[in-house]
Symmetry: D3
Subunit: 286 residues, 6 copies
């Protein structure tokens, strides 16, 4: 996910504009108009930094000078200065909350993702952790980027990305087999086709019908192993990717990881974010 800086700037300023409304009445009333200050963005708990690039781009696009002390994806300690920002005091104060809200949310997502990814790594699991489309509406780019920074896979970016045949498509098509066949027939050659299945039998049918990826929906680790066996028997194992989704928590993650699946996706990475506590402190009034 590379976004030309100027286009990113516009996305970020739009978020800021929402919070500014008709203007920052407090800074206007209390802070002298031309005052220059230095501020430090400080972590109030440990985690993984994400949103550094975005905060930097927003600050600089507002005419502020910003210097990141930590790069996206790096560890941050409680109390550590993440970034130094200097420039017009009213501008810094007007942008403070938007910058922190983005930084805290993205770092929160990256922190959780990294913790899970490390867990898989330590257990030498081959599976990678992935996000879903259960992002905050409007923040798709930032939520996915934070998962990437944390070491996860962003999964489908949106509805125009990969074909993903889900339960409701199957309900309409009549069977997963019919749905995948239709997808195979109509999809652009550039698209992968993934099918969500609820049984081993359907997994086999989906593969036969041409799916590139199978999502085992709400399978227990035991059921996954059975599915893997059946795919091996049928000669399909290794020829399709296996994703598992539903019912996975930090606690049972390793159990799922032991099943030879390729991808473990968790909606909670982005729908139930725990923000990282980060604040901005005026360090020096010039």
């Amino acid at each position: 996910m590379f976004m030309p800086r100027k286009i990113l700037e516009e996305k970020l300023r739009q978020l800021l504009a929402e919070d500014v409304g008709q203007g920052d009445v407090t800074s206007a009333a209390v802070v002298p108009a031309g005052l220059t200050v230095e501020a430090a963005v400080v972590a109030k708990e440990a985690g993984i930094a994400a949103g550094i690039e975005e905060t930097n781009v927003l600050a600089e696009s507002l005419g502020l000078s910003a210097k990141a002390e930590v790069a996206d994806g790096e560890k941050i300690r409680n109390g550590q200065i993440i970034m130094k920002i200097s420039g017009n005091a009213q501008t810094i104060l007007a942008a403070e909350r938007t910058m922190l809200n983005l930084l805290s949310r993205m770092s929160g997502i990256a922190t959780t993702t990294r913790r899970l990814a490390e867990k898989l790594k330590k257990a030498k699991a081959t599976a990678k952790i992935a996000a879903t489309r259960k992002t905050a509406p409007g923040l798709l780019y930032f939520d996915k980027k934070a998962v990437l920074v944390g070491g996860g896979d962003p999964h489908r970016l949106r509805l125009d990305d990969m074909i993903l045949v889900k339960d409701n498509h199957v309900a309409i098509a009549g069977s997963v087999e019919k749905a995948v066949k239709k997808a195979k027939q109509n999809a652009a050659f550039s698209k992968k086709i993934e099918a969500e299945v609820t049984s081993t039998a359907d997994a086999l049918k989906a593969v036969e019908a041409g799916a590139d990826i199978i999502m085992l929906d709400n399978f227990s680790p035991k059921q996954i192993k059975d599915a893997v066996e059946a795919l091996k028997k049928a000669g399909f194992f290794g020829k399709v990717l296996l994703e598992v989704s539903g019912g996975i928590t930090e606690q049972n993650l390793l159990e799922y990881a032991s099943t030879q699946v390729d991808v473990i996706s968790m909606g909670a990475l982005t729908h139930s974010v725990k923000a990282l506590d980060i604040s901005l402190e005026i360090a020096k009034v010039k």
Copy 2:
């Protein structure tokens, strides 16, 4: 917070457009173009409904027919049908995730807010629970609305709302007293002035300088009680509102509530949302 429906529609469709991108390739490939279906939006866990109005407005604005089975603010049981939506199958499937993401986030916020509000109510506390500006960037309206639906106070809507003198303003102004005086002098008559303070002494000075509301920042319950006493002594108690913020959790909430403060604000209500699990199921293919 009343938003004319047509303006709300446009906000909602913009969120949908982000997820749709160049089109829903799966529905295009798998679902017949003119097909009509009925779908049920079903709760997968108990909580408080929020986002019902928004989902309804979005669905209807897309030409779908939507019937809410639950109103915003009502309790929902695990397994309960929250809303019925019928109409063009491709449209329903393309909007499904955006509708659910909004509904899950807003209901998650409302559920937590309500639980805390009920806790205060049972304890006969006079304080009310309030949000902060720590919302997801871009979702300010929806996050604040969900807090309201849950029974909380939305607090400042954005920077152009109330004057709120915070630590960084004080650092620039030199003292809370100076900051509040400047605010009092420059603010529009229609604005309340709130001041964040870190000591009882500053609380008194802020009131004297003309603050309408005092935010006791990171005060322990004990420190709050001392501040209340000091305000009573000085004859200010009851003439200003007292807000407390920082360090408050579900666990220690009642301790804080026992201190005679008017408002207890918690950033976590909107920055660390636990989404309510809600799904959409095609119930009938016509």
Copy 3:
């Protein structure tokens, strides 16, 4: 009202874009493409400068060099050079009218506001002059800013600002008392509540119901004095702000100001603006 410069730039360029349409056909046909010129923005009548910051920001955002000779809020004489702008000739000519339209309107508003504010000051009245929401649609920010620059109070910025119970709300609620009580019950703690009343009796009821500000609608100076007496008698005077609106002109202003009200609001400040005559003259072709 502090607006980060980059966000202000975008607002201003949007106004310019409307006037430019598919391009300035005259400058394209008549002015050499790379030509650099110096221009002077000159006052054609005396008044108070407003819109200087906005013009400056727009000019600089277009790559022009701008130097204000007068600051917002300062007096300008007929014939005085307000600002010097130099740079690309086609750009200056394409932006000329938009810059002047904004400058003339804002300076016109500030000039009238200042004249009235000075009148009050000379009469040692404690009341301040305030705007209303009767602005030019789309120009809210600029109209309110100009009132501020002129020394007036901007009043409510928009519908999401203070609670203001007006005649139509009262008509629906049944009485001003009921309306204010409902407002008190439902409003966020951060909002002031103002009530428009048409009689002294209603003024008293509104205060009792919890209003922070009372707007005496179309009261004569005599009626205002009666209301003030009644409020004093009831012990409310000094505890609520008093605003008077309706029927006030430059001629009778001091009569109203003699009544101990806090705020005198006049819609004409922004709905019936007399633009200040300002022009731009190419001073030197390089």
Copy 4:
């Protein structure tokens, strides 16, 4: 100026959205959510109606039912009901001010324009009254439309309309002759060319160089007559249009009109509008 209704709707809702911000907090707090009311839009002074179509389109686009009692361009009496609007009470109250601001401004413009146009008509002058580009920024369409409704000519809609060589273009080109020649050479065949001149000599040169319209800038009636004579002598009279601009007031209008010019343009029509007093009254709560 015909604008497809749906495109007009979007322009209008954008104006409304500015005033609504995060929502109408008063109506939300005081007015029951599903309540239906009837309202009357009432003139508080006599004048010419304009903005009726726009108000109607905005109201209907918000789901309200609107019935104009007066058409654009018709006379309205003090006290007359201009329009009846019924529907959701919160929506009516949230849109009230935006509708009235537009209606008052446009009717104010139309009223003045009509008065001047009638004056010319009574005097059997052949000149028509015209607007300039001195409109409120962002309101170009509405200001020009109001002039049209009042019986005036909208003049150039914006910079991409007709070629208009003004003083600053002449300053750059060296002479009005050179400027017009360049314009003639480079302009699209579909564009008229107008030249602003400050002397009869220049008027003649501009015509010779190919101008279709001559704007006599700040000419006295006497000077205009001299110019007309010179043009007649040179055989140009009747072959170009003559516009006069600068220094014209309601008082001296007929003097100017007696000079055989075709167009009399006045910036004040749109830069110094006197809004017509119009209000909205809830007539019936259902």
Copy 5:
């Protein structure tokens, strides 16, 4: 590519708004305001219809009644009525050119695509014809949709779609092998990886490095056959898709198609469109 109708409407109205500007001055001057007419959209040459859905949606969204006589993808004869539109005359005339421009361009693209696709079909070639990203800027959705309607493959929708390693990426990475390996390592699991190669040797290396699709860039039919042989020998044939691009014309298409490639992509489908001649005729004035 399924786009919810309301989102498509907004895209289409934005295109219309560009052409309307400040209003249709001709229809305003010549056509009575409330007049209703019937119009026929008529083909002036034979071809394949595309843009029918879009024209229909735009017309209906403007309040017109539209009835397609031909569906997207169907053949149209010279002189055939494609669509009937009735409703407000000014609206029809204001939207006429935008509707026809879209319809003509999309039908032109579909007509060429179909002709080539039919050629391949008749020759029993297995290859399918595909578009590239060489679309008209801003019209990506419509250009790709037209290719689809014509029977072609839309290829990558935009930069966030499939990974496509091109010559410039290879120049930076050092070799196609290194580039594909980096892509394989960093890409989301949901993305296919395509590599553009200029030699058979590179084709083999790209496949070994993990590419899913190989684009043979500017290969002659003879060179393609050699590459196919080499891939067969290496056991890769049938495991990756083969795309050929560059130097393909309608004349030599079948030669390329005889080479067992899967996809033949041609930029000219969208960068050098021959519009289909279509016009709108007022059929009946009511």
Copy 6:
């Protein structure tokens, strides 16, 4: 057509944003983040350069350094370097296709326009070649600009430009005479009036009714000559402009040019563009 650079930038970035979507996944995966490269924009066929200014503005607005080797309107040879661009590699690659698509389309339009314009020049024809409103929707500015650069006349920019009475307006008005009279009566004085006619008789009537320009629609060269004779006889020739449109090709152009018409307009200039082949090559990795 002069567009202030900053407004042009925003138009261009919007076009880029469409292609970027959620980010350039290929460059993100394959190209190192901070890498700087030099690239050359190279012509792959001879033609006339157009879009140089636009490409330059887009590149520089993205923070790239761009140096045009050829100016808009100049000839380019096959193999010639048109522009050098250096800077961030990911940014260059993400913007490559949008820059080339614009450059190729605009240069294609300019190349054809120039070829036709030169043909007229060589034949010493007085007619000039002109575009129509048959542009690609959304690209009006760029298509018209390219025609200008090629030496053609842009004709009406959009519906708010000149009055153009076409067949459908005539059908509604009853006759071309009535339509032109209505236009004359209602049009702003700043607008020219053109009328499309299908017979010499109508041409005469249109001129009598006040048309400034006559469009001879689908007249053969012979018919045009007859019309010219008739206009001469009636004393109108030279007093109105004559435009011919319909049925004109590169082959028969000179036949039409020999008829003394002023303007020859061809829709194909913009509706059936042959893009000029231009590519971007990374020349040096720093």
